[in-house]
Amino acid sequence: MVAENVFFGIIAAAMAISALGVVSTKNVVHAALYLVIVLAGGAAQFLLLGQEFVAWVQVLVYIGAVIVLFLFGIMLTRAPMHPGETLGNDLRWPAAAAALFLAAILGSLFVKTWHGQKLHLESPVRTSEITNAVFRVYIIPFEIVGVLLLGALIGAVVLARRD
């Protein structure tokens, strides 16, 4: 088990640093790229947890589509691509305090509740199980999400069209 922990540690560190980078870099494109690393690290964590399907879905959808979308958005809004923007607005310290506060609560909550809880990963989850679950048990949410996607699509088109 040590190998998993090591891998986990490396990937977690990378994700943490990238996350900090997302929120603090001056360059917008760099922020997007940092986000890519975070998301990729996330996918790796999924693999470590034996959840393969969602790992690859994350790569496909998040990194493949969402980041591209972000880059398009950056491009279209002519965001300054070079450093010059200040690091943050005047809410930095309250925001930091709030974030740390929340982190403290969450952290202590987690530690207190699941102290020593081990994960027993016997076998990775097979895709057929997921599809079975989605198309049988969770069929209604699936349909709704479909409708939601449709709505989002149409909404985005309507909002962004030039008239």
């Binding site: 809410l91 709030a98 974030a99 506060f101 929340l102 969450l106 909550l109």
Partner: protein, 742 residues
């Protein structure tokens, strides 16, 4: 016993006539006078009958007593012996009805007829009848003829109510009613202010005396309670209680003094005599009836009726301290001061008024020295000759001096124009002066002899001096009116040739201007033209002279009723029950001669002064002291000044001003400050409590809300991330809370 038992009709008939005249008099052909005369005539007949039946009753009782028989009749028993042989107890005839009863107190209205009541009833109704007849002519055409007769009827009824009263409350009612009628009649011509002033003065002055009456009535009730254990207003009971030994002397004395105050007020004694001369502002028949013969004697009647109270209260029977008691002293003073004032009057009615005051003083003095019969007898005779004199004065003014009463300016030498008036007036004068054998002699002499007999020698002197003065001033009055040159006619005779009403009106107005001094009592004659006589002084109509002769007749012969040897008055009229042990004196020839001589001296002195012009003529013009003395008399001893200016004036002035000041400044200030305080409180409440306090709270709340809103608005920065921050914080807090509390 019809008249005795139905004596309550005597006051009732004039009362009914009053109501009839009041409501229907204007429609009657004679203006209500016929009803009045008929009613008083009927009362007079009834009074005569009562008198006769009473005398019979007394004579029967005495005869039966003398025979020693004891047959059951009304109230016969062996009584005490009087000084004149056997006299039986004769109870008065009493009838009453109880009109109110509560807790053992019974208030009754009724009649009590005994000798005193019978004889006074006779006098009142006779003089009233004569005055009614007289007024037919005297008040002809007057502006309020019917009202006058109504008031005369009411007065007669009230006086009779007082006279027949069997209890002190009824006497009080009658007393007040006659006071009211006097007020009404004095102010008969109230359009002229002096008349209404005189009426008010009369009323208020007698009112002062009525305090005494009220107190006395109440105290007499308690007298009876002390004596018998059960209070009562009944006069017989009161008289018996006064003599009772279980009643303290002090109580009886104060009761007597209270009643004495009433007598002083009503009967014009010193010091409340000032109203009587001013009362001459009323019409002359009124003066004759009320202020000479009847009302003013109500006080004396009260004294005679309730004599035991005075007898025991003032210890009249036992003269100590040199023979003085309050009643006699007051009477004596009144005799002198009244007579003195009569000397300086120019108005014939005022002379007679002061003479009345003086003679009333005689009556009160007589009561005060224990001469009960003498006092009542003098009341009896005085009524006749004084009424005779007053009506004579009225006749003079009516026909002789153009309705003026001023002797010096408008009269004189009327003897040849008005012989009947002159002779009746002369008879009245001689009677008043006390010349044998006229009425005044007998009555006045009896007073004097009893005064001496009972130990009050000082008052004999007073009486004799008074007699001298009376004779003198009356002679003066007769001279100024009937002798000498006629002073009233000369300048008017030309105007008399104009025989039309306008000139007559002007004449009346001329007369009004003629009376420059206080004799402003000219009647408002509407139509004088129907007299049908000439315009100089002339004898009066028979309606005027008839009563004069009737009264003169009585003035001559009434005195014989109590002449020695006859002495019926005492026997018939002195009360036999609940009375005192008066000790009547025998006739004294010496005193009689002395008094006649003194009276003749008085007449002679005046005769000498006026007819012969002898003596100190025009003394006051030469001598300062005489002038001062005359001024004192003219100013009526400054008593009017004392009453009106000093007492009333200080009350009106100082006390009233003081009270007014208190009212304006203290009481009103209480109110003002209460008001100001309320206003101030209101302002304070408005400004501080309402504006600043309540509104402050409200405004403050609104401000706070506004400010809070203003502050809270800052949360709405419009910045998304700020909202997000809040969200995150809230979430964190909730999480914490959840964690802690679960």
């Amino acid at each position: 016993m019809f008249f005795l038992d139905h004596a309550w009709l005597v006051p009732l008939i004039p009362a009914v006539s009053f109501v009839i005249i009041l409501f229907f008099g204007k429609r009657m052909p004679r203006g209500g006078a016929e009803v009045g005369i008929a009613a008083v005539g009927a009362s007079f007949v009834l009074a005569c009958g009562t008198l006769v039946q009473w005398i019979n009753r007394v004579r029967d009782a005495d005869n039966a007593h003398g025979l020693g028989a004891a047959i059951g009749a009304i109230g016969r028993s062996v009584g005490r012996l009087g000084a004149e042989g056997s006299a039986a107890q004769v109870l008065p005839v009493v009838h009453h009805v109880t009109w109110f009863e509560n807790a053992g107190v019974k208030l009754t209205v009724g009649v009590q007829i005994d000798g005193l009541a019978a004889i006074v009833m006779f006098v009142v109704t006779l003089v009233s009848l004569l005055v009614h007849v007289y007024s037919l002519e005297y008040m002809r055409g007057d502006r309020r003829f019917t009202h006058f007769y109504a008031a005369l009827s009411l007065f007669t009824a009230s006086m009779l109510l007082l006279v027949v009263a069997d209890n002190t409350l009824q006497m009080l009612v009658g007393w007040e009613l006659v006071g009211l009628c006097s007020f009404m009649l004095i102010g008969h011509w109230w359009e002229e202010k002096p008349n209404s002033d005189a009426a008010l003065k009369a009323f208020l002055t007698t009112r002062t005396g009525d305090i005494g009456l009220l107190v006395g009535v109440v105290m007499s009730y308690w007298l009876v309670e002390r004596a018998t254990g059960h209070g009562s207003f009944n006069i017989l009971a009161v008289n018996q209680a006064a003599a009772s030994s279980s009643v303290g002397h002090t109580l009886v004395m104060w009761t007597a003094l209270a009643f004495l105050l009433a007598i002083i007020g009503k009967s014009g004694q010193f010091p409340l005599h000032t109203w009587l001369p001013d009362a001459m502002a009323g019409p002359t028949p009124v003066s004759a009836l009320i202020h000479a013969a009847t009302m003013v004697v109500a006080g004396v009647y009260l004294g005679a009726r309730l004599y035991p109270i005075f007898w025991h209260g003032l210890s009249i029977g036992t003269p100590g301290h040199g023979g003085l008691n309050a009643m006699a002293v007051i009477g004596g003073i009144t005799v002198i001061i009244g007579a003195a004032l009569a000397f300086v009057q120019d108005d014939i009615k005022k002379v007679l008024a002061y003479s009345t005051i003086s003679q009333l003083g005689y009556m009160v003095m007589a009561l005060g020295v224990g001469a009960w019969t003498a006092a009542v007898f003098h009341l009896f005779t005085h009524a006749f000759f004084k009424a005779d004199l007053f009506l004579g004065a009225g006749s003079v003014s009516h026909s002789g001096s153009h309705h003026s009463f001023d002797m010096k300016k408008d009269m004189g030498g009327l003897k040849k124009y008005m012989p009947q008036t002159f002779w009746t007036f002369a008879i009245g004068t001689l009677a008043l002066a006390g010349i044998f054998p006229l009425a005044g002699f007998w009555s006045k002499d009896e007073i004097l002899v009893n005064a001496g007999h009972n130990g009050y020698q000082a008052f004999v002197i007073v009486g004799l001096v008074g007699a001298f003065m009376t004779a003198a001033y009356m002679t003066r009055c007769v001279y100024l009116t009937f002798f000498g040159e006629y002073r009233g006619g000369a300048e008017h005779s030309e105007e008399h040739e104009l025989a039309d009403d306008d000139a007559h009106m002007a004449l009346v107005g001329h007369d009004a201007g003629h009376d420059a001094d206080h004799d402003k009592h000219i009647p408002g004659f509407g139509a004088h033209a129907d007299d049908g006589h000439g315009h100089g002084p002339h004898e009066s109509n028979r309606l005027l002279t008839g009563p004069l002769w009737v009264l003169s007749f009585f003035a001559v012969f009434a005195g014989l009723l109590n002449a020695p040897g006859i002495l019926k008055f005492e026997k018939w009229f002195q009360p036999r029950v609940a009375f005192v042990d008066v000790n009547p004196a025998k006739f004294s020839v010496i005193l009689a001669i002395v008094s006649v001589v003194i009276a003749l001296l008085g007449i002679g002195a005046s005769y000498a002064y006026y007819w012969l012009g002898a003596g100190p003529q025009r003394l006051t013009e030469r001598n300062a002291m005489a002038r001062a003395g005359k001024h004192l008399l003219v100013m009526k001893y400054y008593l009017d000044v004392l009453y009106t200016d000093i007492i009333v004036g200080s009350l009106k002035g100082a006390i009233a001003n003081g009270v007014y000041w208190v009212n304006q400044n203290v009481i009103d200030n209480v109110l003002n400050y209460a008001g100001k305080g309320a206003i101030g409180l209101g302002k304070f409440t408005y400004e501080y409590i309402d504006q600043r306090g309540v509104d402050g709270v409200v405004n403050g709340l609104a401000n706070v809300t506004g400010e809070a809103g203003g502050e809270l608005r800052k949360v709405q920065t419009g910045r998304l991330q700020f909202y997000a921050l809040i969200l995150v914080l809230a979430v964190g807090l909730f999480a914490l809370a959840l964690w802690i509390f679960t």
